[in-house]
Each structure stands twice: as C-alpha cells, then as structure tokens.
Subunit: 282 residues, 2 copies
C-alpha cells in the first residue's frame, strides 16, 4: 500500500515508539507530531521521532491517518471532536481501555472512520525519550468492535499492525476491558501497592538497594509507571478493576490466614495452585 501522511497525537512512550515503527516499516510518507506538552513536542522533534510538530488543527487537516496516543481520558473527550473535523481520514487509538471510547462515538456519523485498537506493549517509562526502536513486534494487538469501522479504514489499520509484526485479535470493547483488567491493570496496582508497602515499612533504603533481588525488581518495576497514564485507565475500567482487586485482596488474605495459622497444607495448596500459571506463561 501507498505510504500515508500520518499524525501522532501524544508523542510519548507509546506514540513515539509507534512513530519509529511507522517510519522504519515504510508506512508513513510524513510524520507530524502533536503534543500539549511543549517540552515533549520539542524533544520528539529533536529525537527525529516525527518530521515536524504542528497544532492539532493543522495536523488533522494535513494527515490521512490520525493516531491517538494520549491518556485515555483525553481520548474520550477528543475523539468525537476529531471525528467532527474529518472527512475520509482514518482515525485510530492505542489506548488501554475501550468501552468508554466506543460508547462516546457509537452514534457519531463518522464512526466508521475510527478503528479502536490496543497494542499490548509498554514499559514503565514515559515521554518521547523513552520511545523504543522495534517496539510492538511479536506482541498482540486487540482490535475492538471492528464491525463498526469502515472496511477501508479497518484494512489499513490491519495492514499497519501486520507490517509492525503484531498478531491481531478481535474482541468487543466490553470483553477487552474485562481481560485487560486481569492481564494488565491489576499487575500495575499490585506493583504500585508493593512499592508503597516497601517504602512505608523500610526506612533503611540502602539496605533495600543492596538486597533488592531480581525477583523484587520484576514485581515492582511497573511501580515506576506514570499516574497521568494510569489514573484515567483505572477510572474508565473501574468496575472490572475493582472486581479483580477485591479477588486479589481475598487471595492475599488466604496467604495471611494460612501463615498465621501455620497451616502448611493450605499454604502448599495455595502455592501449588499458583504454579498452574505455568500453563499460561512459559
């Protein structure tokens, strides 16, 4: 397919990493960056993640494809306004929640121009300086409510993810948000809470620093993730996140109870059950 003029709104970790791929996989003839954070915009240009920085209005006018990579609360506010402005352009988002976005434009006359996607990739860092070469490759991308998108828009977005090397799944927005709560959102909450636990209880930080094992690092690294990205995700996926979080607290309470009672058998059962995760992650 022909290369397209593409604008990326939000040139941080996710938008910046996608911009690198759009260029490297020869999907873009021109890349325009938009960011409310002027420092990020400047940095994205300096790092050559994009060819130029522009205003939202100009970027939309000039682009054939509009990629939304802002925090999900901003997306919900802006997507209807972007659809108001466009004609035949393609709009896609890279957000971690999908239901509120889908609902926000369900009856919009331009709904067909929008493709809802969630590429399952990220790191605990943020900003354009955290953008990574080769990101997204060999990971899954979920395309939501595909039947509501126009055939040509859907086709191009699939072509894009195919070139980037992502395997694609289709799912309804509501199912997506439920699954995302289990396999992504809860991990972030656990990690944030674990960091707060350790920071609260352990005042001799040098000891932590010296002792921190690979195990600790891997469970706590997501705690470096930014509140600007994650607060809106937890808010939009409130019901699912609360369901999983309650279950998680109940599971932790079982460990507490079995240790308090020195109930070896129960503790062995709990851990043996947890070991079944080997079926899921290799």
């Amino acid at each position: 397919m022909e290369r397209k003029k593409i604008c990326v709104i939000g040139v941080g970790l996710i938008g910046g990493s996608l911009a690198i791929q759009l260029h490297e996989k020869k999907l873009s003839s021109k890349l325009i960056g938009v960011d409310v954070n002027e420092e990020h915009a400047r940095k994205a240009l300096e790092l050559e993640l994009v060819d130029e920085i522009s205003t939202l209005e100009n970027a939309i006018d000039e682009s054939e494809v509009i990629v939304m990579a802002m925090p999900v609360d901003t997306m919900v506010a802006m997507l209807p306004l972007i659809l108001d402005k466009i004609d035949r352009q393609i709009v896609l988002d890279l957000g971690s929640t999908k239901s509120q976005l889908a609902d926000a434009v369900k009856s919009h006359p331009k709904r067909g121009r929008y493709v809802a996607t969630h590429p399952m990739w990220g790191t605990e860092y943020s900003g354009p300086q955290s953008a990574v070469r080769g990101a997204f490759e060999n990971k899954a991308v979920i395309i939501c409510n595909a039947e509501e998108s126009d055939a040509d828009a859907l086709e191009w977005v699939k072509h894009m993810y195919n070139k980037i090397g992502m395997h694609q799944l289709e799912m309804e927005a509501k199912a997506h948000d439920l699954h995302a709560a289990y396999v992504s959102h809860i991990s972030h909450i656990t990690s944030f809470a674990l960091a707060n636990t350790v920071l609260e209880k352990e005042k001799e930080e040098n000891a932590i620093f010296e002792l921190a094992s690979a195990g600790f690092e891997s469970t706590v690294r997501l705690a470096k993730s930014s509140p600007a990205m994650w607060v809106p995700i937890f808010m939009q996926n409130k019901e699912n996140v609360l369901d999983v979080l309650k279950e998680h607290i109940a599971q932790l309470s079982r460990f507490k109870e079995s240790i308090e009672k020195e109930d070896h058998e129960y503790l062995i059962r709990l851990i043996s059950n947890a070991n079944k995760i080997r079926r899921i992650i290799k």
Copy 2:
C-alpha cells in the same frame, strides 16, 4: 587458596548453580552431591554438576567444605547434626531465612565452623536441570552473625563469594530476616496471589495467553516457584512476613478505596508515592 573437596547437600537450582561456579572458579578439587531425591541426584550427576553422588555420612567424612542447599526447614533440623559430626571442616548454608538457623546452633560447641550466608540470587524454576551457569555473579550475598564464625571458616567463605563475583554485606540474622521479608518474600506472596486471582477469575485461558503482556509476565513469573522451597521460608519468617503482608493488603485497600470513590487526587498521590521506588531500583 588451595582447592577443596566440597560436598553440596541439595543439588537443585541453588546447590546445582553453586556447584557449577565452584568448579568453574577453581574452588573445588572434587564435588560430591547429596540429595534425598534420587531422581535429582541422578540428574545432577548426568549433567556433571557434581563429580559423584554419595550418602550424607560419606560426603561429610570426605569433604573439607559442606554446603547446605536444602529447604530451610531441613536445614534447621540437620545443621546441629552436621556440626555434631565434623571436626575442622567448614559448613555454610545458602538459605533465605537466618534467625531459626542461627538460634538452632547458637550454643553448639562447633558453632564456629558454621558460616551463615544468603546469596541473593534465584529463579522461579527448581531442580538440577534448572541450574544456571554464571549464577550469583554481580549479586549481593549477606553473611549473618559473622562474629560467631571461626576466622578461618569466615575467610574461606568470603574468598569463595569473592571469586564467584558477589558483593558481600554483613548483618545480624534478625535484621536479615526483616529485610528479606521486604525485598524477597513479599514479592513471592504477591505473585502467588496474583496468579491465583487470575486463574480464579479468568476462565477463558486462551484469552489470557494471547493478551498477557510483558508487565503481567514480570509480576506473575515468581508464581512458578516451588512450594517445597517457599512454605518453610514463610513459616520461619512468619512474623516479618505477616507484618509486611498486612501492610501490603492495607496499601491495596487504599487503591480500592480511591477507585471506588473515584478520588483522582488520592489515586495520583498513591501512584506518585509508588514512583519513588525509582530511587531504589534503577
């Protein structure tokens, strides 16, 4: 220093990985393996982790250094019996808890021959087939109650860890167990509980498998760890583990409360505080 005849009791992940290093760093003139699990013993020999397999009695008689790498409950039971049998040999352990071991031999006439150590390295796998070449390097090892060990025994053990490339810290056994609860034991409980949460709530396992992101994998990978190793650790470090676990449940409850009330400000504060973990893990 001269190479020594060394026996390793417990030739699984930890003992097997150490055996590889003892040979590669030219610390051993002969390596004798002992394991109650005959399959593990056979496998360790087949993999050439050790030069021969022997009984506990024979191995102790023949060795100048005795390394204990069994689960920590077995260690507490066996350490006094091993000290009963030895004369000038050096005994060290690689266990994850230290207070009960230290207490068990505090007044033993051969206490000086024993050096209590905890090399901060491990993986979520177990058994001799999981032993890793180059393990322990550039990690920390904690030596506990060093003043209770004979100078020559301590000197050799430090020499050994030095050759293996571990940086050494000294600490009292009680302080060790407190810190270990924060930087290692709680991470395992969180991970086990997270695995159980996901397995409980998510019945469509194919969806998890497809969607599981790197973030999920990193928070849940420790859930593959073995109950044989971890149940005794949690039991021996019961008070510290329960303290940290209660704090962790309290921290998770704050996330639950802030999401329930849609209290953005509180949630931002919780996450911003968690971000301070950046000071500790780079």
